[in-house]
Symmetry: C2
Subunit: 322 residues, 2 copies
């Protein structure tokens, strides 16, 4: 078994070698190459490769499906950036900003089909299982994105609802990446389901860390401007935790979100988060989901040696600065 | 075997009974129900059902895949209407006009996955073949839509390029509907490929008829305002045929397309089409592709009785008023 970083590098190299479907219509495929060439952690394919090998498979056998999962992820980014009106992605222009909305829609659609094609490149006897897992995951992701958008116009979103939303929007894809890797690696159905739980819990912890970084991260390494969620009045985990606080500090936050977007608003809200100890609330919540991920891992029939990279990945992602 | 109209009614009833995937997030699934409930010819599922039975299968066995093909078609309509900025569809508001662009994007994405799920509901031994045909078709459709958009900013599009574009954008889905129906019905690979050709040629003839209806159709039955293509300077088959005419009439058309959108422009361009005999050019081209469809049909191993509804369908679609 290799380390997460090595699996990530393997996926990166495969994408750089353009081992994914494409064609010669530059206006359709150029934006796809651009989006896939942006680098990033390659978390989803690396997790799929790592899981496949942890169960005794070979990374090559899972590579096409793994790249398919990364293409799916990037398809959602193209469309989400249109829906959220985000002009920046990984420190570069997003596809709709560099080209236009129509390009982001259509190249995104193409990526969803490319993703399905690549995820289907598994042995015939595993096709049904893998495809069903992939499609069920995709539906969850759309539902999560819809809930996220619907939250914007609601004032009564609870922390529980938020977790349900990120389970769908972020957790399901990490869960499916681990599960599909497990299926290809030859895991039992029970262990594949446990790997799904591991990935799901990892995903929730990852997203809360992402929300935290949006406020307390370093803009040089985060790839997005700090405070974006604050300025967009995004109902992040921090915002919902802050709004749930009763009394003077909570009232101050409820007033502060009415401020016009800008550096001032970011400063005021960040200071209130600090005063209310929201950073610690995040860390506690992250630890809670990490512990759930470890519990899922514990139940899996796998050598301790093979489990080790999964534990390290949890630490890495929840301690990350970008 | 039943008639096309009966297969169409079967598909319609299945959609009315909501025998397709869904969930309880109204903001995501409501627009999908709305789009699928708009009626229409149900051409693609009816063609799939008809083909399955023509090869000895049963309509029920092909029903899920057939509905999946209709959902795919409607997914493309949701996204195309955003890209083309069309506010009307089948006499009603399009999804992005009734809700918003984000809803059309996300509910459309959901429909693509729902379509893939339903098309995959075939016996295991046919899954790979059917899924590959479906995905290859989807890629063609995106390429066709991309070419169509790219044509808008080009002045040198030829009639040949136009036909290549509608082969992808319209023909591939009709081809795949017939081919997937054939696969489910138990056709040989050769006959399934011939059914693809039949559907493809039918699709080209159908699209040219559609372009013709946009100018010479009846707005009461067409479901869209007449002259929409003219006002949008759309490079339809009629426009490209007219622009290819040299001399005074062609020059007059090249001037007329610079007119501002409005009833006047539609009248002037329509009169020029009449003067140049563009309607006859269309009819000749339609007859050409109908004849190709019949040639493909002729080669198929199938009783003459079972071939009859396919011949009738050709006549029906190319003689239609809506």
């Amino acid at each position: 078994m290799k380390s997460f970083t090595e699996y990530s590098a393997l996926a990166e190299q495969t994408i750089r070698d353009k081992k994914y479907p494409g064609g010669d219509i530059e206006t359709l495929y150029g934006p796809i190459d651009y989006a896939l060439g942006a680098g990033g952690k390659r978390l989803r394919p690396a997790l799929a490769l790592m899981t496949a090998e942890a169960f005794g498979g070979k990374a090559e056998e899972a590579m096409n499906a793994a790249i398919g999962l990364e293409i799916f992820h990037n398809f959602t980014l193209l469309h989400d950036d249109v829906m959220d009106n985000s002009d920046t992605r990984r420190g570069r222009e997003s596809v709709h900003a560099k080209w236009d909305v129509n390009t982001a829609i259509l190249s995104g659609d193409t990526m969803l089909t490319q993703a399905t094609m690549m995820v289907s490149e598994v042995p015939d006897e595993k096709l049904r299982k893998v495809l069903d897992a992939f499609n069920a995951m995709a539906i969850k992701v759309y539902e999560g994105q819809r809930l996220d958008m619907d939250f914007e116009s609601r004032e009564d979103v609870t922390g529980e609802e938020y977790v349900k939303m990120i389970m769908d929007k972020t957790g399901a894809l990490l869960g499916a990446s681990a599960m599909i890797g497990a299926m290809i690696g030859g895991a039992s159905d029970e262990d594949a389901a446990r790997m799904y739980d591991y990935g799901m819990m990892l995903g929730i912890a990852f997203q809360i860390q992402d929300d935290w970084l949006d406020v307390f991260g370093d803009s040089n390494t985060f790839g997005k401007p700090i405070g974006g969620d604050i300025n967009n009045n995004k109902k992040s985990f921090l915002m919902l935790s802050g709004l749930a606080v009763e009394g003077a500090d909570g009232d101050a936050l409820r007033e502060a979100i009415k401020l016009p977007a800008g550096d001032m608003k970011v400063k005021v809200v960040t200071r209130l988060y600090e005063k209310m100890g929201i950073s610690d609330v995040c860390k506690k919540e992250i630890a809670h989901y990490c512990s759930k991920a470890l519990t899922a891992l514990k139940k899996i029939k796998m050598s301790e040696e093979n489990k080790e990279p999964f534990r390290k990945l949890l630490e890495k992602l929840t301690g990350r600065k970008k």
